[in-house]
């Protein structure tokens, strides 16, 4: 089993995490199969929090299931569904259930999900949530009350290297560091030239940065993301490479691209690791890791 996500950065030059999406419903067999497949191959498994505002099993419950199976979970926590009481309570609960890493996110808006009529919360934002984690680590809550036993979380956050405009994104990135973020997982990147320029701006900070890798499964998916997903840019060459793959071999082409990118990021020491999101194709993550060798 992984030695712990925080320790992984001490022990390795290149840390790898993957993503587990809790299911909608109580049949967890497929998810558990993915956990078992991946837990010894990566340094941490992010568990999404009602991803894309779609109601599912909670991140915390799945973190505990991962621990039970010998994996290392990273709790994703968004500001969309919980006010400051619920967020802090969730964090304390995560700690006593042995989840030690937390990724603080704003969360998608409710309108993109399957309960668009829900009341969006956003009582705190991601910067304030990071500060809250810091307070709990210091034995205090957000209202200044002493805790009976503190936490010792390894707090992280996200950043979008391809954000347009980039300046406000970088200002927020710096606020997140000031608020205590120690590691970052980025939104999916595909253009390593752009990513290098982003990394150059981050060098002066003592934080660990993991590049986001989203598995391409078709040229259509790449074009769709370019058009519809904010902060994702797939360069033309990669779209061509995907389009050139024959039918039935497209996922293979995506795996080859992801593996190549990971290898380059690692060999050129461009960042501290990668976070692999193989949305719906979690079973192929080992193939991506193989291709990255």
């Amino acid at each position: 089993m992984a030695a712990g996500f925080r320790q992984a950065f001490q022990e390795k030059d290149f840390v790898v995490t993957a993503e587990i999406g809790p299911p909608k419903g109580t049949d967890i067999s497929e998810m558990i199969a993915h956990v078992d497949l991946l837990k010894d191959k990566v340094d941490g498994l992010n568990v999404t929090d009602n991803q894309s505002s779609v109601m599912r099993i909670s991140s915390l419950a799945v973190c505990r299931l991962i621990l039970d199976r010998g994996g290392e979970p990273i709790l994703q926590l968004t500001c969309r569904d919980r006010n400051r009481l619920a967020l802090q309570s969730e964090l304390l609960s995560a700690w006593v259930l042995s989840t030690k890493s937390v990724l603080c996110l704003t969360g998608d808006y409710v309108s993109v999900g399957d309960h668009p009529q829900a009341k969006p919360v956003f009582d705190l934002d991601s910067v304030q949530l990071l500060q809250t984690v810091g307070l709990l680590n210091d034995g205090k809550d957000l209202a200044g009350n002493e805790l009976q036993g503190s936490t010792d979380f390894f707090p992280g956050a996200v950043v979008t290297p391809e954000a347009d405009p980039i300046e406000p994104q970088m200002l927020k990135f710096e606020k997140k560091i000031a608020a205590g973020a120690q590691f970052f997982q980025t939104q999916a990147i595909y253009d390593l030239g752009n990513f290098k320029r982003f990394m150059d701006q981050t060098r002066r900070h003592e934080v660990k940065i993991m590049a986001g890798i989203v598995l391409l499964v078709s040229a259509g998916m790449a074009r769709y993301m370019n058009k519809n997903v904010p902060g994702i840019f797939v360069p033309d060459e990669l779209i061509q490479e995907m389009a050139a793959a024959e039918k039935g071999k497209r996922v293979e082409a995506g795996i080859r691209i992801a593996g190549r990118m990971i290898r380059q990021l690692r060999e050129e020491k461009l960042c501290n690791g990668v976070h692999i999101m193989a949305i719906g194709k979690e079973g192929r993550v080992p193939d991506i890791l193989e291709a990255a060798q």
Partner: protein
């Protein structure tokens, strides 16, 4: 000002089923400006309801009156001489005005004809947009006069989410991202340093409903009386 829109005619018609004599009361301030509940709109609604009544062979009397404001008692009092003649009153004010009218004439059935939308401005002819959510602790001094509590769908106080798309908001691609606007404005006025400060969580206790406010001058006067 308060921006509102009129409910569909059918919905208002359904509310008045069973009533024969109806008074439609307009409001001459905010909702008159946004063309939802002023004198003209009263006229239109009354005509529509009369027409509907006629088509359904109903005995219906619909009368019209518009007051300066329904959120001020002094403008509601003069209605006293009319209201007794009616089975129901339709208010074309914002939600606050409807309630004040219902409170003033508390034996009457008072029905809302509008959906109250927001506090906003006239952006162009016939277009209004929300600008303030009345958070009770204005921070516009630090955000270049652009309200993150309102213009940002997630009321983020410390910068944009990952959803900014070419300066537009992920929630509605037609709308500008508040944080792109704030950044550009502060850059323009040379005050980007404002953005380095981490804004603390908002104090929602200030927004505990229902809000109530007594002007200082009147507080003193009241104390002297006592």
């Amino acid at each position: 000002m308060i921006v509102a829109e009129r409910k569909p005619l059918d919905q208002i018609d359904a509310m008045i089923q069973g009533f024969d004599k109806i008074l439609v009361v307009g409001c001459g301030t905010c909702v008159a400006v946004c063309m939802a509940g002023g004198e003209k709109e009263v006229e239109l609604l009354a005509a529509g309801l009369r027409m509907k009544g006629k088509l359904e062979n109903k005995q219906r009397t619909i009368d019209e009156i518009t007051v300066t404001r329904q959120c001020d008692k002094e403008y509601l009092d003069p209605l006293a001489k009319y209201v007794d003649d009616y089975d129901a009153i339709i208010s074309m004010a914002c939600g606050a005005g409807v309630q004040f009218l219902a409170e003033r004439y508390d034996e009457k059935i008072v029905l809302p004809a509008l959906n109250t939308l927001f506090i906003g401005v006239a952006e162009g002819t016939g277009i209004w947009s929300q600008r303030c959510t009345a958070c009770s602790d204005c921070i516009l001094d630090q955000t270049g006069g652009i309200c993150p509590m309102t213009i940002c769908a997630k009321n983020l106080l410390n910068g944009p989410c990952g959803g900014t798309d070419h300066g537009k908001c992920e929630v509605d691609g037609e709308k500008d991202c508040a944080w792109t606007l704030i950044y550009n404005k502060l850059k323009k006025i040379g005050r980007l340093d404002y953005l380095a400060k981490i804004q603390p969580p908002k104090d929602y206790s200030l927004m505990t409903k229902p809000g109530k406010y007594t002007h200082e001058a009147f507080k003193e006067a009241k104390q002297q009386e006592e």
